[in-house]
């Protein structure tokens, strides 16, 4: 049974069809890529999965549960986390806090415990703290723990976003252009990181990318979107030679 099953997903913005009949069956442990020219509807698919918009039509099932109509925070607590095309960190808050906030739904104390400082509060806070530090260490960000997120260099900010996403203990990770603004060396490191993360955290990954190096390097399967429609689906090799795909990209070469 697929972990994430999307069927007939369709969404309009006013009269504009942003996503048309999108289908995806994501099996556990897969790394699938979503590519296409700008404005093809890729981020919209992410937004639909994570509940930012309610799709006009279609079904989204995760682990058997229907996600359509659920609040974003609930979808994320269920195990689907994401990063953003433009970095959306909590800029004024510390790096540590950014990751700790990702733990929100995991906290095992309620308001009363917090307000009156019950013992369970202290225990949980320490656990959250430790988990957050663990994640920061994983991404080599622990030395920045108390710095505001905005002080971090760009590459570290992107890593922090992923760390924050992992804080909610997801099964599925949606990465929106994780390689944006990176040079080839950084991209290689990113590829290693994603592969490592996938094993370390037992993740299933759905990835939007423009950098073909990343897509071809790590995706087992690729879907190609153009103007909201899925124009191709297959292995990297198949996609690279697909005439419709090449046409959609108008001469963009896969590196």
């Amino acid at each position: 049974m697929p972990l994430l099953h999307i069927e007939g997903l369709t969404h309009y913005f006013g009269g504009l069809k942003a996503v048309s009949d999108f289908n995806l069956s994501l099996e556990e442990g897969e790394v699938v890529g979503l590519i296409g020219p700008n404005g093809a509807g890729k981020t919209t698919v992410f937004n639909l999965i994570t509940g930012v918009y309610r799709p006009n039509r279609g079904r989204i099932r995760f682990g058997g549960k229907d996600l359509v109509g659920m609040a974003s925070c609930d979808i994320v607590s269920m195990g689907i986390a994401r990063t953003f095309q433009t970095i959306r960190l909590f800029k004024e808050l510390s790096v540590l806090d950014n990751v700790r906030i990702g733990h929100f739904s995991q906290a095992r104390y309620n308001v009363v415990h917090a307000l009156f400082r019950a013992r369970s509060f202290y225990r949980e806070e320490e656990r959250i703290r430790d988990k957050a530090y663990e994640l920061l260490e994983t991404f080599n960000l622990a030395r920045y723990a108390d710095s505001p997120a905005k002080a971090l260099p760009y590459g570290e900010q992107r890593r922090l976003e992923i760390a924050r996403a992992l804080a909610s203990n997801p099964e599925v990770l949606l990465l929106d252009e994780p390689a944006a603004g990176m040079n080839p060396h950084e991209i290689d490191r990113l590829l290693e990181t994603i592969a490592w993360l996938k094993d370390r955290f037992s993740l299933t990954i759905l990835l939007i990318e423009h950098q073909m190096r990343v897509v071809m390097g790590i995706c087992e399967r690729i879907l190609v979107l153009d103007f909201g429609e899925t124009i191709a689906e297959g292995t990297p090799g198949e996609i690279q030679t697909n005439p419709r795909v090449l046409e959609a990209y108008l001469g963009k070469e896969a590196s």
Binding site: A71, S72, F90, Y122, Y144, A151, P153
Partner: protein
Amino acid sequence: MMIESRRAPLLVLGTILRTRQTVLLVIVGLALSFFLERSGFVSSYILQILMYVGINIILTLSLNLVNGYMGEFSVGHAGFMAVGAYTASIITVWLFRNQAGALVFPIATLGAGIAAAATSIIVAIPSFRTRGDYLAIVTLAFNMIVKSLLENIDALGGPRGFLGMNRLTSLASVYAWCAITIYIVRNFVYSNFGRAVLSIREDEVASNLVSVNTRQTKVLVFVVAAFFAGVAGALFAHLVQFINPRTFSIQKSTDILVMVYLGGIGSIFGSILGATVYTVLLELLRPLGVWRWVLGPVMLVILMIGRPTGIMGLKEFAGFVPIEERARKKKEGTAVAAASH
């Protein structure tokens, strides 16, 4: 790569020490207020000012939660104060028929807080879908509706007001409630929920997408804030022994805003400072007569233009920050320096 909880023993020790010191401080303060009031060393005028300061501290702290930490636009806070003031007065004057009794005032004050907290739902729900200017209008509308309702309910005295309360507010009770408010607000801020609130201020959409239940959090913040505003209202009503709807108009809401922004948004010490400075300043300017009411608005405008983050900026007095949360300054310095290659 596991991090050992090497800080754990220090942590526990640290909190025990803190707690003991703090509790001691609170008890001393309580005893002091008790003594001051009965001794006659201090004039009743000064005592009244001190109580006003205390009530304003509670109001400012409660609004700071919403406007400072959560970054919302609540500009009708006096509405919650009104609900609290009237509820408490109804309880002591009608329900208890002004009987003396140690529990009467605490019950009335708690009732006031709960009533105000309940009405905060009216404001919390629109806050789910609207932010910024629109929420400002909602909160203002709420303030006006409360005021207008009170003016129309003759049983509560209508525009002529409600009187007959006994002077149940004492310096000790104000001090006690101040301490409680500071305790609760501080605990709230340095917790999962406090972090959630800050994340809403930073980026609400992203907050939702990292598992924060923003709706629940918003309701929580409004409820806690309204509760304490209601408590402040109860204390106020039983200090001045007469309340009418006009007391709780936009003017009052604006006064609270001044205190929040003067002291510093997102800072507990700032709220205490802002409330104290503003209350005392207004008293000192009493000889100016009507002109002193011009001061508040002018201060507000100058603050907004010159220093919108208030006296404290965005910093907090170390005494309120839990030990575990204090930033390690040395590490921060080297980390950022290393990053700038």
